[in-house]
Symmetry: C2
Subunit: 249 residues, 2 copies
């Protein structure tokens, strides 16, 4: 008998070499596996909805793990959060169906890319917002966002090397929230390729700066070539906001 | 001929041993003096409205410095902010009367102490909010705040050792803003003694936790003894918000 536990995790990725366990490097996965394994008294493998890059944050990452031990929710959360470093918090835990898989079963994800628009960026958000000191033409960015949205082959927008891999994704929406101090770009989609959100953010920023024009977007898609798209915006501006699962009745 | 320049500064105090220059330690004052001195081509002394403690932040600290060179505002701000580490920003600069002194001429200051009320504190604000995981009785804290407000001898609320020093201050208001996730305590007064805001915050927290009762406050004032007041709340929750100067007509 084994239990399957689903958890949601809040982390500041600044200190970490990303989600995925790598020998000799500080990762979110290893930190969580060590902590949960210690509490469960067995070796634990934590599967996330997706592997965030080095430096990327999560407001709500979803993961699951299997364990032989029956865990009590409140006690588990208290013990974990006492043991974890203060830049990782497990926010919720629940027992789920044995077949639940946090990566395969995710049907939608939302990422937010935050740009600090101020000439003199706020020191208190510098770790979570990318500072662009030149003026951005947000209207042009909105036009570009419309063209980027939808079902497309996003091969030009990924650093993924494997040629045979399916690179078609449904980018359901790009919503921009402009407070004059910050410009937040919310990307909602059924899934994202390696580096895709950061390359989309970089491409939108280049359009906002006038380094690229909206009319290039169809060509960028057609080229299926990473070098046609914009730069990869820095990791610290990116936050995984939400992961959605199908509710099975 | 010498010019007197007034600047406002935004800093994250987390890395620094406070405002005041100390041999062999990283301080805000020395960092600013080195940077501005470099730009002016002369030795510069930067006087702040007050010396924030190690780890305390400033949304808007005010300071002034004298220099022989005539500085151009935009160029000065750009050069400073390029040279300064990213946790210190000079936000504004203006030429002021030769007699202006940022410490002696300050007539009012506002500090904010931020408490994270969540059982699992937000990782993204952990450097700027003190996490209190037990429930706080905010109503009792409000009652206590009323008794603390006004013109009092705050000797019990300072770590200041000098006995002869004048410890009477006018604490004009304590405003509490409770968002359920955070409780922010705004302290507005004509001046604050060494550690005073953090001891006031700690005393209010102890009242909120039921470790002290509101009725003790008159005794605490009368005792004129640091040990009667509450604990000193940690530095990272404290932020200097604003410094007000008399507008001379």
């Amino acid at each position: 008998m084994e239990y399957n536990y689903k958890i949601s995790i809040n982390y500041d990725g600044g200190r970490y070499e990303g989600w995925q366990r790598q020998k000799g490097r500080l990762t979110i996965q290893e930190t969580l596996e060590d902590c949960i394994g210690n509490i469960c008294g067995e070796k634990i493998k934590v599967i996330a909805s997706g592997r965030t890059d080095a430096g990327v944050h999560a407001l709500e990452q979803t993961a699951n793990f299997h364990a032989k031990v029956k865990l009590k929710k409140e006690q588990f959360l208290r013990e974990c959060n006492e043991k974890l470093p203060e830049d990782i918090r497990i926010m919720t835990m629940e027992t789920v169906d044995a077949k639940f898989h946090s990566r395969y079963d995710a049907v939608e994800k939302t990422y937010c890319y935050t740009i600090d628009l101020r000439e003199r960026p706020n020191v208190f958000t510098r770790r979570y917002a990318y500072s662009v000191r030149e003026e951005l033409n947000v209207q042009e960015m909105e036009r570009a966002a419309e063209l980027l949205t939808g079902i497309h082959d996003f091969r030009s927008f990924t650093s993924e090397k494997r040629k045979e891999k399916d690179t078609v994704r449904n980018l359901k929406s790009i919503v921009m929230v402009n407070t004059n101090q910050y410009l937040k770009l919310y990307f909602r989609g059924d899934g994202f390729l390696y580096h895709m959100v950061r390359i989309l953010a970089g491409t939108l920023i280049e359009i906002g700066l006038g380094k690229k024009i909206v009319e290039e977007i169809p060509e960028i898609f057609q080229a299926k070539n990473r070098f046609r798209a914009g730069f990869m915006a820095p990791a610290h501006g990116l936050m995984l906001v939400e992961v959605i699962y199908e509710t099975k009745e």
